[in-house]
């Protein structure tokens, strides 16, 4: 595929920026593009799908308890053991999982990038102190941290979000710091400094943009990681709490009825697996596109 991209027929016309070039390479990756469309479809149905139904996932229909999946309106995939529509719950759960996934990755990414860029650029004792802090935080047991934070925030989505962000910003910080460290010694940074640019502006205008391709690749891997953490914690019962749905707690309640009704596990589990696969293919495609040396 790389040969195609760089062959003379498809060689970019003059004036194409690196970023455009990279996206062109990405678009040529069929698997990644198919994943993008599928993911978009899932995201759209999760956020708009539930409006098509006359009830929400927290409304029970006691006349149809544990209805099987007969693909009949209104309970297309049947209902759960409380008479709540399974499909709507899975879609609403998807809203929560996807929101936490993307938002968590974004926030963790921003914190990590800024922290790493500052540490790498400033260097010296500050860098040492900042990176030791990161290492100490790395050593913190994840689940205990989540439990502590949920005690602190009184449980709920905010605690979960904080805990996920708190643990996941560390890796981008380390990666960006390495990148920033090598950038800090480059001539154009020297030039910027000689030209009178303040340190803040150098970090924001030179260091951060130059780390972007690494960040995008890593960030795309961060999203599935966050979704998986959310599901994992909700599965353990310390994440999203009933009656609010998330893929994690839907899978958790699905597993408890696994031997009698597999449907309750398959729908949320299948959707979660699909989203994770899509995100990983996209991340793979991005890495191929952004980092040709790596192949």
């Amino acid at each position: 595929m790389s040969v195609d991209v760089l062959s003379p027929e498809t060689a970019p016309p003059r004036g194409t920026s690196t970023l455009q070039l990279q996206f062109r390479r990405f678009r040529a990756n069929r698997l990644a593009m198919a994943s993008v469309w599928l993911l978009a479809l899932i995201v759209v149905s999760c956020f708009f799908g539930p409006y098509a139904f006359p009830f929400t996932g927290e409304d029970a229909d006691f006349d149809f308890i544990s209805a099987p999946a007969l693909f009949q309106w209104p309970h297309l995939f049947g209902t759960d053991e409380f008479g709540r529509d399974l499909l709507v719950r899975v879609l609403e759960g998807g809203q929560v999982s996807l929101t936490i996934g993307f938002l968590g990755a974004l926030v963790a990414g921003v914190i990590g990038v800024l922290y790493g860029a500052v540490a790498g650029f400033v260097g010296g004792r500050t860098d040492g102190l900042m990176m030791r802090t990161v290492e100490i935080l790395y050593g913190f047991p994840y689940v205990i941290l989540v439990i502590l934070l949920s005690l602190l925030f009184g449980g709920g989505n905010l605690a979960l979000f904080a805990a996920i962000v708190f643990t996941l910003w560390l890796t981008p910080a380390v990666i960006v710091r390495a990148q920033a460290q090598s950038l800090a010694r480059r001539e154009f940074i020297e030039a910027a400094r000689a030209g009178g640019m303040t340190n803040t502006r150098i970090v924001l205008e030179h260091i951060v943009p130059n780390c972007m391709s690494v960040v995008i690749v890593y960030g795309s891997l961060l999203v599935p990681e966050v979704i998986l953490s959310e599901s994992f914690l909700s599965f353990l019962g310390i994440g999203i709490k009933e009656p609010q749905a998330s893929w994690g707690n839907l899978i958790s309640s699905g597993t408890s009825a696994m031997e009698s009704d597999l449907r309750l596990l398959l729908l949320p589990g299948g959707l979660l697996a699909l989203v994770l696969l899509c995100l990983n293919f996209i991340a793979d495609g991005l890495r191929d596109a952004f980092d040709p040396n790596d192949r």
């Binding site: 927290e58 308890i65 053991e81 353990l236 019962g237 009933e242 009656p243 408890s256």
Partner: protein, 533 residues
């Protein structure tokens, strides 16, 4: 995470056992493994108020009477007893040569000391009400509320080493139900005076009088019991060791049962109940219990102070759908409080009983609106329950019904059993997924617990109820007594301080090689009756 830790511990325990077996000749399984659900909250026989620990203590301690596998009263430490003509005085004759597990002679005074310690306010035992409320032993109330410290006022006396006399203020036909280990465990004063309450969880120091002695206590894991050679009937105790395992999660418990790690489970996962009943009907035991479920309303909550609202909440629940279609645990839905245990007790007539569910829901909506709530101003409440699957499911079902019928926004807050028990006394709850395990299958055990003077912590004041209960307790015969109790129950139900829910059955899986397990409504399953084949 936690599961993994346990698995490692089991592996270690397994490895240790293999080592032990390597050095001793191979032997058949000599340990009965029983699940007790949540961790015991106390192993103190005078303090424990918990069914889980009750299984353990039933093996370790014996009262004046004990209970056979079917739950019938049989002689325990007392070989015989008789009642006076007015039904107010009972005389128990202890067996000859009774001993404590350490060989000390067991005397009648030890039983008196047990009651004294239960009643002593310093013990902080919840069980005092048995002696001054469920039955009214002379002087018990004065001792319990600290009016006097003089043990001689108590109506439980030991005229000689083998006689216990109990004098009551009012006749109580149900006294024998309260003479088992749960209320009437004797106290070994020498060890208790030396080590205080800590001796009860210290296998090296604890002295007991039951068929088994406590050998090992491992928090969050198990209590190991060994046959007590000094027990009067030790010759008929067949199983040398009994291990009571903590089995907080029913699903995990089932897997351990299927793997052969547990012989008698504490419960059966609801989702598997139907399948297991179809596949292994001999191993599934589901029978009525004295486990009453009701949702208590916090009367100090400003919303719930409104009686119309409380009634609306109670009416809005379709108990039939909740228990039979959502929870599916075999519980018997009910609208009253003390009925359904003794078939002779008819209970009061209540308006709800003759209404259809649609009528109840319509009335609930009307009362809800009258209390000032509606779509713009929904009621917001939290149900506090334990992490047990069945409780969570019932609470979620109830929350959904309140949402559907009334539009109330109800959250379910599930927590560890101990935290849930503690929460009740903090007053930091709105609806408490409450339950009460009656001490015998009759209405009085439940109604006595609700007496404001029993200090069960509901913050409910009702002199009328007290008076009705006092009046009922003057009847020595069941018929007159039950009519009086029904009047009291009417007063209780009309205040809607809780929503009655259902009677939970006992559900156990019992391995086919375990014999001697029976359907005891009060949940007495002493290991001493069982054998392993």
């Amino acid at each position: 995470m936690i599961g993994q830790g346990k698995a490692v511990r089991h592996w270690l325990a397994g490895a240790a056992m293999v080592l032990a077996l390597a050095t001793t000749p191979a032997l058949a399984d000599d340990t009965l493994d029983r699940g007790v659900g949540s961790e015991w909250s106390s192993l103190d026989p005078q303090v424990n108020f918990d069914g889980s620990a009750g299984f353990i203590l039933a093996d370790a301690y014996e009262g004046l009477v004990t209970f056979d596998p079917a739950g019938n009263i049989v002689p325990g430490q007392a070989e015989s007893w008789e009642a006076s003509a007015d039904g107010k005085t009972y005389t128990f004759h202890l067996r000859e040569g009774l001993k404590w597990s350490n060989g000390d002679p067991l005397v009648a005074q030890d039983f008196v000391n047990g009651v004294l310690r239960t009643l002593n306010p310093d013990t902080i035992s919840e069980k005092g009400y048995y002696f001054y409320s469920t039955i009214k032993i002379k002087g018990a109330e004065a001792l319990a509320n600290g009016e006097t410290k003089d043990p001689s006022v108590l109506g439980v006396t030991a005229p000689d080493d083998r006689t216990v006399v109990i004098e009551m203020e009012t006749p109580a036909p149900h006294i024998l139900d309260l003479m088992g280990y749960f209320q009437m465990a004797p106290l070994h004063s020498p060890s208790f005076n030396e080590g205080g309450a800590a001796v009860f969880i210290d296998p090296a120091k604890v002295v007991s009088n039951g068929a088994y002695i406590i050998k090992e206590v491992v928090p969050q894991s198990h209590v190991l019991l060994e046959r007590n050679p000094n027990y009067w009937d030790a010759a008929n105790v067949k199983i040398p060791f009994v291990k009571h395992h903590v089995t907080e999660d029913v699903g995990t418990e089932l897997k351990r049962y299927q793997a052969g790690e547990i012989d008698i489970t504490y419960d059966i996962p609801l989702a598997e109940l139907e399948r297991l009943t179809a596949e292994t009907p001999d191993e599934v035991w589901v029978f009525p219990s004295t486990y009453l479920i009701y949702y208590s309303f916090n009367l100090s909550n400003p919303d719930l102070q409104n009686i119309d609202l409380r009634r609306a909440l109670s009416l809005a629940l379709d108990r039939d759908v909740l228990e039979n279609k959502i929870v599916k645990g075999g519980a018997i839905p009910k609208l009253n409080y003390a009925g359904g245990f003794d078939p002779n007790y008819k209970g009061p007539d209540i308006a709800e009983a003759s209404m259809s569910q649609a009528e109840r829901e319509a009335l609930a909506q009307e009362l809800y609106a009258k209390a000032g709530y509606g779509p713009d101003n929904p009621l917001k409440l939290t149900i506090s329950t334990t992490v047990a699957e069945i409780n969570i499911r019932r609470a979620q079902g109830a929350a959904l019904m309140w949402k559907k019928v009334l539009g109330a926004e109800v959250e379910v807050n599930s927590m560890e059993r101990k935290a849930w028990l503690d929460l009740f006394y903090t007053d930091d709850w709105t609806i408490f997924a409450d339950n009460l395990i009656g001490d015998f299958a009759g209405p009085e055990t439940f109604l006595a617990y609700m007496r404001p003077s029993a200090d069960a912590g509901y913050g409910w004041e009702s002199p009328a109820y007290e008076a009705a209960m006092d009046e009922a307790s003057t009847f020595p015969d069941k018929e007159g007594r039950y009519a009086g109790l029904a009047k009291a129950e009417k007063i209780l139900l009309d205040d809607y301080i809780f929503a009655p829910m259902s009677i939970e059955p006992n559900r156990h899986l019992v391995k086919p090689n375990v014999k001697g397990f029976g359907p005891s409504a009060a949940g007495y399953h002493n290991s001493q009756w069982m054998t392993l084949e």
